[in-house]
Structure formats: C-alpha cells, structure tokens
Symmetry: C2
Subunit: 334 residues, 2 copies
Amino acid sequence: MTAAGFKKLINDPFDAVDEALEGFVAAHADIVAFAEPRVIVRRNPSAGKVGLVVGGGSGHEPAFGGYVGTGIADAAACGNIFASPPPNVVLAAIRAANHGRGVLMGYGNYAGDVMNFGLAAQLASAQGIEVREIRVTDDVASAAKSETTKRRGIAGDIIVFKCAGAAAEQRLSLDEVERIAVKANAATRSMGVALSACEVPGSGRPTFELADDEMEIGMGVHGEPGIKRGPLQPADEVARILVDAIVGDIGDRGRGEVALLVNGLGATAYLDQYIFYRGARRALEASGLTVVRSYVGEFITSLEMAGASLTVTLLDDELLSFLDAPASTVRFTT
Amino acid sequence: MTAAGFKKLINDPFDAVDEALEGFVAAHADIVAFAEPRVIVRRNPSAGKVGLVVGGGSGHEPAFGGYVGTGIADAAACGNIFASPPPNVVLAAIRAANHGRGVLMGYGNYAGDVMNFGLAAQLASAQGIEVREIRVTDDVASAAKSETTKRRGIAGDIIVFKCAGAAAEQRLSLDEVERIAVKANAATRSMGVALSACEVPGSGRPTFELADDEMEIGMGVHGEPGIKRGPLQPADEVARILVDAIVGDIGDRGRGEVALLVNGLGATAYLDQYIFYRGARRALEASGLTVVRSYVGEFITSLEMAGASLTVTLLDDELLSFLDAPASTVRFTT
C-alpha cells in the first residue's frame, strides 16, 4: 500500500520502472528505442560523432530518457528508483553510444553513480572504447565552495548534457566535448527547496518527514539533508534566499548574462513554478545579472515531491551557442 | 494559510494569476507577449489568417498560454483560478487575434465560458469581426452519449486547438477552420481519474474530499462529480475502465487509428503517467484500435491535483496531417 497522501497510478511497485520505460519507448518510438531493457537509445543514431551517455536512477522522469535524441544524448542508462544503474547497464549504454570517436558519460555526482559509471568505463576501456566522464556538481547547498567536487548534481545536469550534446552533434572531438561539458558544469549552480517528500513505490513510507508548515532549503532530490529547515515562506523570499546563495558562490561574473532554469520537482503546479521564476529573475536582476535564456518546467523530478530548484548558468558566446543549438528529444526541443 | 498537504510556492494568493502570467511571458518572450494583463498573444503575429482564440480559467497551466504561438493559437484569454475570463478580456483576445479573416474561439464547454465567450463574440461582431466558436466536449463521463453537447471539455482541448490552429496557419477560410475544429472535437473523447484534490490559492481548503484509499473515476478538472468513487486500483485496471468507457462511446471507428494523449493533472509523477499510458495503449489495442500518435505529460492541469486523464482521437488523413503540422508554442512543438 502507499503511504497516506501518496496515491500512485502504478501496478506492482517492482514493475514500475520497466513498465514506465516500456510506455516511454512506445509513446516516443519516433525518437527513442531500447538497446536493452534499461538502456534507451536514439531511434536514428548519428554516426561519426562522440557518443554521449547520460543516466542515473529512475524516479527522476523525464530524466534521463527524455534527453536522448538528436542534439543531446545517444543513450541513457536507467537504474531502479533513486538507485544508480549497475555497471553492466552503463556498459551497454556506452557500447550503444560508441561510434568510434569515444564516449563521454554525464551524470550527477552521487557515490553510487561514480562507482558504477567508473566500473563501466573501465570495462569499456578494456574493449577499446575511449571513455571520459563529467560528474555534474551544480548543487551549491551540498558542499562548500572550497569542496565543489563533493557537490551533488541536480537540474544542472540538463544544461551540461545540452551543451555537451550539442558539441558532440557538431562533430567536435572527445577532448573538445569534454572541455565544453567541464566548462558548462563550472558555469552552472543550482539550489532547491523541498516542500514535501515523495514515496519510493513499494516502500510504504515517505522519503523524509517535513511538517505541514515547513520547507527545507537545499534539500537534495532524494531527500538528502539541506542547509535550513523552517516555516514556509512566500515564493519571492524563497527565490531570494536561493539566488543569494547561488550568486554568492559565483566568482568571475563574465559579462553577467545567465540562463535561468526553474525545475519543478513533481507536485508543484506550473502556476507556482512561474511565480517562482518571476521571483528568481527579479532577484538575479537585482544582483546585477541579466537573464537571457529561460527554461521552466519539470526537467528532473523526484517522483511526486513538492518543491522546485533554481539553476543559473553564466553564459558566454560559446555556451550560449551550444544551448541554442538544435535538439530534438522528448523533453527538450530547440 | 494553505490547507494541510497543499504547500504552495506563491506570494499573495490574490496576485497568483498575474504573477504567474508575468513570469510566463518573461520566460518565453521569444514566443509570447502581453496584449493586456490577462491576454497572451504571439510575439510574432501571423497576418492574413483566421485568428484562433483559446482560453478559460487559470490554474490549468500550461493551458492556455502554452498553446499560443505559430501553428496553434493567436491569443489566450485567461481568467482567475478555475473561473472564466470576463467578456472584456475575451474581447481583447479576439481583437488581438483578428487579422481580417475572422476569428474562431476554442474553449471547454463550461457554463461560465459559454456565457462570457458568447458575450464577447457579440461585442466583437458589433465591431465588424466575424466570430465563430468551438465548445470542446470531450469528457464522456460528464454526460450521456445522447447529450454530447452537455459534455465538458478537458484535455481534448489540446487536440482540437492543435488541429484548428494548423488549419488556420495553412490559411484556410473561417468556414474550413471551423469545420476542422468541429471534426476534431467529434473525433475526440476523454475520461479522467482524480486521486486527490487541489487547493485554490487563498481558499484554505481542498476543492473536494477524497479518502486516503479512494479515487474517483470521471471527476472533472475542477472537482465536478464523476461517475464512480471507489478504492484505488492498479493503473492497468483504471486505464481499462477509462478505455472501455471511451471506446464504448465511439460509433464508426473509421480505419481504427487513434491518437492517445495522457494528461497528468499536476501531482502525478511522469513515472506513473508512462505506466498509465502503457496500460491505456494495451487496452486500446485489445479493443482493436491502433495507436499511431502519442502525447504524454501535463497539458491541462488542475493545479497540484493528483490523477490523469486519457484522450483518444479517431484519426483520418486530414486530422493526422493537422496534428503533425508544424507548431512552435511553449508547450507543444511539432
């Protein structure tokens, strides 16, 4: 049974991931296909390019299959709910994405993913495939500025995947695609707020407890502890707190132009997401930054968790051109 | 304060609609602009065509502004939460959409909308603008087959708007655009399931009460009574019940090809939506229909309500070509 308040439209919880993936591939068969049961690939692979593999746990839909297609990823390796895909699944994704020019793996910086993607890269390497990786580390709430390599990856994933995918689609070398991914990650900072938990199917309990009048700033997408728990506040005030933390983390502002992405975590209405976007944009502009690209919606969710995150990417001409480059995936089309 | 369980990321409830619209237009300024505070129009109007005005209450985001752009609507008239836009707002939308070849209004069949859009059409007519309307009536749960004109409009709105918008974009006459809209509506049937209520900002209470272990089949998107309340059931069983009702309502099946749209109402995870899609597709195919186009996601929501609806459209070459025709709006791109 489900926990009170979490009413799911699923069948057997143990079949949820595979049934959802089956539905996803059936619904979008013009764009994606299965390479293996947990590996989503492009329906029409693009030869002669660096391959981009993305992935991570399920429960974050439309991530990660929603970013497979022209202009972004070649393959997505999908794990169980909130659990890293095992090395054999990642290896299958690497092999499917390999067109002889090397493969870049992009994933959020979580211990399980680091281990499994790392093992898969070793196996692929032994098979003669050159593999690099970008661990996305955009969540400024998850570690101090002095320890950015310990930070988790959240919605900044999408920005990094998009830029790296565009670079690969333009037939740049593995070195160059990796450089763009590293640059996009370094330019990208996020922080979120959780208003409620979600329920992993079959677990019968929420991922964490939060009182009816509370929110938690900086909480991770799987319920990892945040930096401040307190009473619910107006959207503008929450946006200001997150923007202050993000902007305070930026060193050189470059020319001060940014992309702003608002990511709904699952249960937060679009109405709220656009109010939150408005507040965040005002706060960014009050801090002297200019928002030149905007993305609002559910990009990487936590099942039916309520809350949202802000992602800010400092742009230069190069990153902007990769962000704007053509893409045709289920979730992201430019 | 919000009701228990409904944690919102908003500021003053009375500003919610205008702030969300302001955020929406700021985020998507490449596609949309304001004609008036509650009227969203294309950033780049397309002259020499029939105008398409869509609209209805707010709280259904990404409807209705998300369908303004090339290939679909010229203008969206936006009301308060779950309340029809007043006649002067609809009139402003008609005027903004008018390029001298007449205007079609498309909206869901609700008493308030029928009255306000009707009054606006009279006012526009007095100003020399020829106005027609399509009242979308896809919700088979809301009235018997013998009384289809009493049925409400739910996610079928999107299919009807898309086909009519494509016809208008192809410079067809008002007669022809109206004919396509009527045809798309007649070919489209929907039914939904509600798993939980939502809260109108500032109301302090849920839109309806549903026990922790209950669902309601056929409930409307504003909490209008459905046809059966009962214990939660597996997604496949819910899909089968809805598909049976929809298919039972179809007369001539034509060549048996359909589009299937799964619409998440707000809080239901994408994971669940794709499981639900899979079940619905299997049920349709078991009944002898073939799914040739699929759309899964949040198209017309009810704030943070949990649940989903299924929409099935019988296709022929003409409707299929309009569905597939190019569109570039915030929510729907083909």
